[in-house]
């Protein structure tokens, strides 16, 4: 059985990865737009519109508000980081570059595009960009732990820190813990790729695309492209690791199958995107803190012994890492509860301060009615999406389970 077949080795493999993950990403976005248009009862733009948009932006002039080098570097860093990430992404088969510990490299690399966005936002000096940048940071800090834990569950189950090893084992050994981790990854995907209801870093209607408000022309194009590619990369990762069935020996066939499964997952992401309003950042953070808490590592039997007090999700993350390969904590460390907090110097810092408290499981003293509200908002996102989709379909009025009593009375 040749599940661990590599895409292609070396340079040709790298080219293939870039073509699939970066080159085809605008096409995926175009299909998502078409899906959105269908739900909207619209005709929608042509499927290749994202390519046309990128081409247009690339030939336009770049109006820069500052000459700061961080500002100028950020788009290239963002897309560049994404391309490198693509080289480490499995597509049903081993990634182009794979070596012992590549899963950890992936987790580190996955943060680079977000960091580029945040740095670029702060360098622009625009207040909306500040807000967007700090929101991006909060999303990153709340979503990455969930994704990392999910990946590490896979690593522990496979007893391997390489994608190759995980691919080999996960396909033959379905397990509950992998199912839970996969679900958590799926829920985190929505925010990781910046789709509704978790697109608050950009939030056109609130903060005018936040980090990108000052961007134009090629800079904007690179960021956009990186965002499209991010969608492909994380979907491919989800499908390869957590939905590996049916596994086929032929590498080419396996890739095609993975692409087909990705289309299904992308459609799901698209549907959730189109039938949900945007949540507030505090609601989304509370949501992911809960998901993180639910990826219960007790399913990974070999970690049960000698566990320290574990009712805080980040502790689990750290412990897991130590138990797994004796590796130091990754970005989870940033979100670790307790310890000395830096003095808040500016907005960004203050938000980090808040993030820590969320991730540490300490209730967030935020809003009137905030806690009960976010509890409602949370896990029902998916079922609600389906209900609403049904209710809003063109034929209308079907699926009135949640009908308002007053209106039903009057309607009769």
């Amino acid at each position: 059985m040749n599940v661990t077949a590599q895409m292609l080795s070396g340079i040709p493999g790298a080219i293939l990865a870039v073509v699939v993950f970066v080159g085809l990403a605008p096409l995926a976005e175009g299909l998502l737009r078409k899906l959105k248009a269908i739900v909207h009862s619209r005709q929608g733009p042509p499927i290749i519109q994202p390519y046309l948009d990128l081409a247009k932006l690339l030939i336009k002039e770049d109006l820069a508000p500052c000459t700061n080098w961080i500002w100028r570097m950020a788009p290239a860093l963002c897309l560049g980081g994404t391309i490198v990430l693509a080289l480490f992404t499995p597509l049903g088969v081993r990634p182009a570059f794979g070596f012992s510990g590549d899963i950890l490299v992936f987790i580190y690399l996955a943060a680079i595009p977000s960091i580029a966005i945040i740095l670029g936002a702060f360098a622009s000096g625009n207040p909306y960009a500040y807000v967007g940048g700090s929101r991006e940071m909060m999303v990153m800090l709340s979503v990455e732990p969930v994704m990392s834990i999910a990946l590490l569950v896979a690593a522990i189950k496979a007893q391997s820190l390489t994608f190759a090893g995980i691919l080999e084992r996960s396909a033959v050994e379905p397990s509950i813990s992998m199912g839970v981790a996969g679900l958590a990854f799926l829920l985190a995907l929505q925010a990781q790729v910046g789709k509704l209801p978790f697109d608050m870093p950009e939030a056109e209607q609130e903060i005018m695309e936040g980090p990108f408000i000052e961007r134009s022309g090629p800079g904007m194009a690179l960021f956009r492209w990186a965002m499209h590619a991010r969608l492909m990369i994380f979907t491919a990762l989800l499908v390869s690791i957590f939905i590996p069935w049916p596994h086929v020996a032929n590498a080419g066939l396996s890739m095609l199958l993975t692409l087909a499964k990705m289309a299904v997952v992308l459609a799901l992401v698209g549907v959730v995107d189109v039938v949900n309003p945007r949540l507030r950042i505090d609601q989304s953070m509370a949501y992911y803190a809960r998901i993180g808490g639910r990826v219960d590592l007790r399913h990974c039997g070999r970690l049960r012994k000698d566990r320290p007090d574990d009712h805080q999700q980040t502790e689990r993350g750290d412990y897991l890492l130590q138990g797994g390969q004796g590796h130091a904590a990754l970005s989870l460390q940033t979100a670790r509860p307790g310890g000395e907090l830096p003095r808040p110097r500016d907005r960004g810092c203050r938000e980090v301060h808040r993030v820590r408290r969320v991730c540490g499981g300490v209730p967030l003293p935020l809003h009137r009615g905030h806690r009960s509200v976010s509890r409602q908002a949370g896990p029902r996102v998916l079922p609600r999406a389906l209900h609403l989709l049904r209710a809003l379909r063109r034929g209308l009025p079907r699926g009135r389970r949640h009908r308002h009593p007053g209106i039903r009375d009057r309607h009769q």
Binding site: Q205, V274, I281, Q283, Q376, R384, A391, L392, P397, H404
Partner: protein
């Protein structure tokens, strides 16, 4: 309480300070008081008698009686009565004690009073400019009769580089500027948010960037029967409300009443307008929180309603139906079944979309507990429309001061106890369904008869007056007309509902996050103004080109053709 009892109470309390009483009808009373007693009289009305402040109208009566008249208009809702407190101010010392410290709802009204008429409100807590541009010369007050219409100062005069005196940012906050151009603020206004992190600490507002001076036009360039057409252009969405309100007011001032059938047609169009305005708003509100599916679907459902408008009036919007004394077009008997059929279809689709939105838990999570406006605060700020009904107060001009045909078919007043953004959403949605019910009733019960009054007087004597409120989709629109010579009013005062609602904004968004500011603003469906042209400036060459209506029409038709051809 009747008007006689009210006057008795005021006379008993203030004695000689009540100089004169003019009772237009048993429900409309004007009380002339000594300028020094304006504040206690207004306070007694507001605090003791529970009157609600509507608006202040300043009138230049120097040519007639040698003074400026300042009319504070109040409404006693339970008694279905309007009370106007008039004070006459000598032109040589044009000041009057401010009632804002006692009646907070007069905050903007008194700022505007100085801006347009030059009567200073002594002791006003915030006497900054409200309406006129920053570079407008000091001492030029456009609503004074010696200022001719169109006789405006040249741009770039003495105050050319004046800028608005914004409130300084509080300690430890940074400023986020929203507007004058912002994705979800379709109209020009600027909001400065003083924020700490994502939390709004305070805010400041500057609007009226495209103030068009329609009131001045009304009392110096138009005639009684031309005004309805201009009034309809006050708003691009609820224009019919303004023309209806003006017509009812002018009819009252002239002592006539439109025939019953005309009043039914007016009510019918007012309800149609409410439905399409609420659905338009629903779409925009959805868009504000990133829910574009609601936007697209709500606007798709809205389309048959626009068809209905066109069928009845000949236009999708800005119908040109109203005249003083009646309406211009009748609804033919033979289209009635067709209209009812469309109404059924609209109801089916609207109910579906309303149920989908009301049953949406994520939407509810996003909107609940945000933009709180408790009952007492809503009362104090005298907000109107769904904004006040969302705070559980059953205020609705259609029931409180019935006009058109609402005395014969009263609508159900819809309130919601939650006092937050969600409450305002639910109120609007349920009102939409209620309006559909009204339309069906109205179409069925519409009496036969003429559509234009036959007893319109040839000469309208000066110094007559009328005041009316009409429940627009956003709240009450108030029109106040004082007749003059030359076949035109001496003063035509208009207050659109957003004028009052916007004053509650600082309270609503205080301590909310930036994310909630647009939807909180959107929850009261603000309507600032509408502009009618676009100017394109080439920044390289400096050339500018104004796109007029014809050009815009041509461009949009070309775009439609392109889409069709694809």
């Amino acid at each position: 309480m009747t008007s006689v009892e009210l006057i008795g109470k005021l006379r008993e309390k203030f004695g000689a300070a009540i100089q004169d009483v003019c009772e237009l009808t048993p429900s409309k009373v004007r009380v002339e008081v000594a300028p020094a007693s304006v504040v206690p009289v207004c306070e007694a009305l507001y605090r003791d008698l529970g009157a609600r402040f509507l608006i202040t109208a300043g009138i230049d009566s120097r040519a007639v009686r040698g003074c400026f008249d300042v009319d504070h208009i109040f409404s006693l809702d339970p008694d279905k009565m309007f009370v106007i407190v008039r004070a006459s101010v000598p032109p040589e010392r044009a000041t009057l004690d401010s009632i804002t410290p006692r009646v907070p709802a007069a905050f903007w009204a008194e700022r505007e009073l100085y801006d347009v008429l030059g009567v200073k409100a002594e002791g006003h807590p915030d006497p900054r400019r409200l309406i006129m541009p920053d570079d407008w010369p000091e001492g030029l007050f456009p609503l004074r009769k010696d200022v001719k219409y169109g006789d405006w100062p040249a741009v770039g005069g003495e105050n050319a580089d004046a800028s608005y005196p914004w409130k300084p940012a509080p300690e430890g906050t940074s400023t986020v500027v929203v507007g004058p151009f912002f994705p979800v603020l379709e109209e020009p206004a600027q909001l400065r948010l003083y924020v700490d992190g994502e939390r709004v600490v305070d805010c400041d507002y500057r609007g009226f960037y495209s103030h068009r001076g329609i009131e001045k036009m009304g009392d110096s360039a138009l005639t009684y029967n031309e005004i309805p057409f201009v009034a309809e252009r006050i708003c691009g969405i609820c224009g019919f409300i303004h023309s209806s309100c003006y017509c009812e007011t002018a009819e009252e001032a002239m002592g006539i009443r439109a025939p019953r059938r005309a009043r039914y047609i007016r009510s019918l169009m007012l309800e149609v307008e409410r439905i399409h305005s609420h659905l338009l708003w629903l779409g925009i509100a959805g868009h504000i929180i990133g829910f574009d599916t609601v936007l697209m679907q709500a606007w798709r459902v809205r389309e048959p309603i626009m068809w209905l408008c066109e069928k009845i009036t000949g236009n999708r919007k800005t119908y040109g139906m109203n005249l003083v004394g009646g309406v211009r077009r009748d609804i033919p008997k033979e289209v009635q079944p067709e209209l009812l059929e469309v109404v059924d279809k609209i109801e089916k689709e609207t109910v579906a979309i309303v149920n989908a939105v009301i049953g949406d838990t994520v939407l509810k999570a996003r909107l609940s507990g945000v933009g709180m406006l408790p009952e007492e605060k809503a009362k104090e700020l005298a907000v109107v429309g769904p904004t006040v009904r969302g705070s559980n107060l059953p205020l609705d001009a259609r029931v409180d001061h019935p006009y058109a045909a609402y005395d014969e078919i009263p609508p159900k007043v819809i309130t919601h106890p939650d006092c937050d953004n969600w409450a305002r959403v639910v109120v609007r949605l349920e009102e939409t369904i209620e309006s559909i019910r009204w339309i069906r009733e109205g179409l069925k019960q519409m009496p036969d008869g003429p559509i234009m009054a036959s007893d319109i007087p040839e000469d309208i004597p000066p110094e007559q007056w009328g005041v009316f409120v009409v429940e627009a989709p956003r709240g009450e629109a108030i029109h106040y007309v004082v007749t003059g010579g030359d076949n035109r009013p001496a003063r035509w005062r208009v207050r659109a509902p957003t004028y009052q609602n916007l004053q509650a904004l600082p309270y609503l968004i205080e301590q909310e996050t930036i994310a909630d500011v647009p939807i909180t603003l959107g929850s009261m469906d603000p309507c600032f103004s509408c502009t009618e042209r676009t100017e394109i400036i080439n920044v390289r060459s400096g050339e500018s080109k104004v796109l007029d209506q014809q050009e815009l029409l041509r461009l949009s038709r070309e775009a439609t053709e392109r889409l069709r051809g694809r």
